[in-house]
């Protein structure tokens, strides 16, 4: 009897030791895992810091040589090592803005179609198709643009534009020939096709945050579909729509491969949008591996820094706006 009690005590002592050991192991494992995950989260922040720092460091030679005139100069001469970013900045902004002007109305139209008009059975398949197409790599758009779209534009659309606006003062400068096929306009159209799925899927999601009660009430007092969209849905979702458009703008500004194929790579600002041009990303993609000389490489890195700053601001604004509509949907 006493022996049995004794062995229980011994057992429980041994059990206590094992228990302590296990608990200790748990504690260490717990701590390690916590620290590991926290470090990973911080690493994401450091990643951004690292990108900015290394770009700044890489662009110092160019920026210190050219100073502020780097932004305004149109020169791009690897032989005399004289570089300016103006044509690339101009091309980046103009192609993205034209792309938005085309893609935004069409994208909104598709979103309205998907949320209001499309037969219920087709909504999911068409919605999924649009989202899948947003995932097609940009090089595919590039190769299509160069081999199929550009020759088509050169043969049909561009001569028509030149002929139509030939005698309109002002516009005849914007649409001045000859039709090269490739150029600013072609790049803009390809960009528009690329960001179209993005705009339509975001605006569809944003439209879906509108409480059905609001729309039903409007229909109930006799509003037409157009009036419901314009006076109920659009004001309710305005912030989110702008956020979605900004996100698409961010994509368009940084898009590289699709543009590189069809922009024409000319470091010059032509008044005509049919003329060739270049963008920041296309310049880097085309010339970086061939750049010899510190100043040449550094100028390209400085272009990258500019691009990163521009897109960062656009994307940050877009996120802030989209966060507001997400908060609205959750409420």
């Amino acid at each position: 009897m006493a022996e049995a009690a004794l062995s229980t005590v011994a057992k429980s002592a041994a059990f206590g030791q094992v228990r302590e050991k296990v608990l200790r192991r748990f504690e260490i494992g717990d701590q390690t895992f916590h620290v590991l995950t926290k470090l990973s989260a911080i690493a994401v922040l450091l990643l951004l810091g690292g990108v900015i720092l290394s770009l700044v460091q890489g662009s110092i030679p160019a920026l210190s040589t050219f100073g502020f005139s780097f932004l305004t100069s149109q020169a791009w001469n690897p032989v005399t090592e004289n570089f300016g970013a103006a044509p690339a900045i101009y091309g980046t902004l103009v192609t993205s803005l034209i792309a938005l002007m085309i893609a935004v109305p069409i994208g909104f139209g598709i979103a309205v179609f998907l949320t209001e008009l499309c037969p219920y059975k087709l909504r999911r398949p068409i919605g999924i198709a649009v989202e899948l197409l947003a995932g097609i790599p940009s090089i595919i758009y590039g190769i299509w643009g160069m081999f199929i779209f550009a020759p088509f534009l050169q043969a049909t659309v561009q001569p028509a534009l030149i002929a139509t606006f030939a005698h309109v003062p002002g516009l005849n400068q914007v649409f001045a020939g000859p039709p090269y096929g490739i150029g600013i306009l072609t790049a803009s159209l390809i960009l528009a096709i690329m960001i179209l799925p993005l705009i339509s899927s975001i605006s569809r999601d944003v439209f879906n945050t509108v409480p059905p009660v609001l729309k039903e009430a409007a229909y109930g007092v006799g509003c037409t579909r157009w009036e419901v969209m314009r006076s109920i849905v659009a004001p309710y979702t305005g912030v989110g729509l702008v956020g979605g458009v900004m996100l698409a703008l961010g994509r368009a500004l940084g898009e590289t491969m699709a543009v590189t194929f069809v922009i024409g790579n000319a470091h010059k600002i032509y008044p005509s949008i049919l003329g060739p041009g270049t963008t920041i990303s296309a310049t880097i993609a085309n010339e970086f591996t061939e750049a010899d000389g510190k100043l040449y490489t550094s100028s390209l890195v400085a272009l990258g820094l500019l691009l990163f700053i521009i897109t960062f601001i656009v994307l940050a604004v877009s996120r802030l706006l989209l966060m507001r509509i997400e908060g609205k949907g959750a409420r």
């Binding site: 748990f26 690292g50 998907l114 090089i139 595919i140 190769i143 157009w226 591996t289």
Partner: protein
């Protein structure tokens, strides 16, 4: 019906007609791209595309070294990027839910998600190619890894946030420490979602060209050396499509078809998995 009413109805009909038209335009443009891809890609599709190396100008050949290169760099990119993204997402959803750090990381991560990939390429060039003194497949893998991270962070956080708190509470009540609750309960509950995120990340990087241009460069020959330049499908497409040689251009179309098929298959697989999860 009054004149005003008729005018309103007409206006609405016109606007909705334009919406139908824009849906038509969108679908038409995208159908044209896919049709061109299939048309031009299938004509060049032959067994030797998968068995032979990229040819010199004017000769016949395949894309084997480029495909293998793409697979290798994607594999290592995911191997480096996915754990980092998984852990960061875990911190945001489990330990630091609602904390300041989480808010900041989420914001920065969302910005990185859409940041221009060519800038990531420049960054990796500065931190790997410059110190090493030469282009390498490893640098290519690192740049792909940096593109994988934001995708995985985003999906991990979203998926873990969907795991009901009662599951965690039940496990904690049994005496499981926090890390085991996360690894054995939360991860398991969110598994389908986590795999979806991974597939989406692979789909995203497998078509990336810009960051590889000046990290992995290109290689005309068979190479599995991580410390040397390596060919990849997107970069080969870029080079061949811009060349004046007919054979190269044909191969570029075939490569484009292969990539698109792979990316679409991955996206569909991810979507099917995601749909299974929501239907549960």
């Amino acid at each position: 019906m009054s004149a005003l009413q008729a005018a309103r109805k007409t206006r609405s009909a016109i606007a909705m007609g334009l919406c139908y038209a824009s849906a038509g335009v969108g679908l038409l443009a995208l159908a044209l791209i896919l049709a061109a891809l299939v048309w031009n890609g299938f004509s060049g599709l032959a067994p030797r595309v998968f068995t032979e190396m990229t040819p010199p100008p004017g000769a016949a050949g395949g894309l084997l070294n480029a495909m293998v290169g793409s697979l290798i760099m994607t594999f290592f990119g995911v191997l480096i990027g996915a754990p980092l993204g998984l852990f960061a997402g875990t911190y945001m959803a489990e330990y630091g839910r609602g904390s300041k750090l989480t808010m900041v990381v989420r914001f920065i991560n969302d910005v990185l998600l859409s940041a221009p990939s060519i800038v990531i390429g420049l960054f990796v060039y500065e931190i790997t190619v410059v110190p090493m003194g030469h282009f390498s497949a490893m640098a290519g893998a690192v740049s792909l890894a940096l593109l994988v991270v934001p995708v995985v962070v985003r999906t991990t956080e979203d998926m873990l946030n969907l795991v009901p708190g009662s599951l965690r509470e039940a496990a904690t009540a049994l005496g499981l420490p926090r890390s085991l609750v996360i690894r054995h309960v939360a991860y398991k509950a969110a598994r389908a979602g986590l795999i979806t995120g991974l597939l989406l990340a692979v789909a995203r990087v497998s078509g990336e060209t810009a960051p590889l241009l000046f990290t992995a460069l290109n290689n005309q020959f068979w190479s599995v050396n991580l410390n040397a330049p390596m060919a990849s499908l997107p970069v080969v497409i870029f080079q061949f499509a811009l060349s004046p040689y007919k054979e190269w251009q044909t191969l570029a179309w075939v490569g484009a078809l292969v990539i698109t098929a792979a990316v679409l298959a991955l996206s569909i697989a991810a979507r099917v998995l995601g749909a299974q999860r929501t239907s549960q």
